[in-house]
């Protein structure tokens, strides 16, 4: 990650003049949504809903509380749109707001059972998104299993690691400066923390079944079946 762009040091506008940079597109969406443009707003929601949900998941709220936090965060963003001065900081703002609202509900103490969008209760909702077509190529199935293992392993990480990694993989990515402010850590410790968290992820039980599997054995069926059993 040594080459990761860091907006703390790079120029504000680096793209060619006739090609809108990701930041400019985002600024356009924010500005249009602030003026009531529904498609622009919907695009913002689609872009950032996974980030909001990943923070909610990290707090293991029950489904009602999770829905309340989600709704509150979007209502707050609508109020906040007109004051977004730096669209690139939107991901950080959303992550911070979501975390604060999760904390509020945890403190109010309405928790009953953890919310996991991947559990049986909501399988009907998202089941259609998992490749269950028996005729689907094995490669898709394998990829889905690996991604599930990554999500499972991610869910087993300490909250701090989940927050850091969520910000590092957010799209558009949060800058090191934003991450440092958001997590209250020096910029210089982000790299080492990232390495430590990824090591934990690699060593998590969910991924253990895959680690050390010989690439040559892939496709033979045996290792993959073992991985399927262990990864779920």
């Amino acid at each position: 990650m040594a080459e990761r762009p860091d907006s703390a040091t790079r120029p504000e506008v680096g793209a060619a003049p006739d090609v809108p940079a990701a930041d400019e597109i985002l600024a356009g969406l924010v500005s249009a949504a602030a003026n009531g443009d529904e498609p622009a707003w919907a695009e913002l929601v689609r872009r950032y809903a996974p980030l909001v949900l990943s923070v909610i998941r990290a707090h293991r709220l029950n489904r009602t509380d999770a829905a309340d936090v989600n709704q509150t965060v979007w209502l707050r963003l609508v109020e906040h749109l007109g004051r977004v001065r730096e669209p690139a900081a939107l991901a950080t703002w959303l992550a911070t707001t979501t975390r604060r609202e999760c904390y509020r509900l945890v403190r109010i103490g309405r928790r009953t059972q953890p919310f996991d969008p991947l559990d049986d209760a909501v399988e009907a909702t998202i089941g259609a998104l998992l490749p269950q077509d028996p005729s689907a190529p094995d490669e898709n199935l394998l990829r889905a299993e690996r991604r599930q293992a990554l999500r499972d392993g991610f869910g087993q990480l300490p909250a701090r690691c989940r927050e850091l990694l969520s910000l590092l993989v957010s799209d558009p990515p949060a800058s090191y400066r934003e991450i440092a402010e958001r997590l209250g850590m020096p910029i210089g410790s982000i790299g080492p923390s990232q390495a430590r968290c990824l090591r934990k992820l690699r060593n998590s039980p969910a991924l253990a079944a895959f680690v050390g599997a010989s690439p040559d054995a892939e496709g033979s069926g045996g290792d993959r079946d073992g991985a399927v059993a262990a990864g779920r």
């Binding site: 990943s54 979007w74 969520s166 390495a195 992820l201 895959f210 690439p215 892939e218």
Partner: protein, 154 residues
């Protein structure tokens, strides 16, 4: 396909990002709640937002400033010089506007207004127990009109 999980951190991070992004698309109801939130923008356009500045449920209490007890939740919202302070108990909400002005308070959920009450001349008002989910209060007086930040109270 090569070794998996990727031996290098960049590769692993990139796969993790892809996994989290396709972790299934947020349940449809979550997206729907997000899309619907925009309808509140125009409703609130003429109102100043009173930001949530204190919630005894999760903020350390400033010494001597609140009267809240274990079963009372106290919240404060600020919009410039205007303060909306409320206390939430099992029996309902009592609140006070500052500067003290008579007027009315409309309590809303994202589905619309659910209760409207008068504010007495010294700024006090009371509402029934809040419904679950985020709630917003519109405080309308002759001198100012504010909307509190959305926050779950129930």
């Amino acid at each position: 396909m090569g070794l998996w999980p990727p031996a290098d951190d960049d590769g692993l991070l990139s796969e993790l990002g892809a996994a989290l992004r396709d972790s299934g698309p947020p349940p449809e109801e979550f997206l729907a709640a997000g899309y619907a939130a925009l309808t509140w923008r125009t409703v609130d356009a003429e109102l100043a937002i009173a930001e949530l500045t204190f919630d005894s449920a999760c903020d350390p209490e400033p010494a001597g400033l609140t009267r809240s007890t274990g079963s009372t939740r106290a919240l404060a919202f600020h919009a410039g010089p205007v303060v909306v302070a409320i206390e939430v108990t099992a029996t309902g909400i009592v609140g006070q506007l500052s500067p003290a002005r008579g007027g009315r308070v409309v309590a809303r959920t994202p589905h619309g207004p659910y209760e409207e009450v008068a504010v007495d001349p010294v700024g006090f008002f009371s509402l029934g127990p809040p419904p679950s989910g985020p709630v917003q209060l519109h405080a309308l007086t002759s001198d100012y009109a504010v909307a509190t930040s959305w926050v779950p109270l129930g």
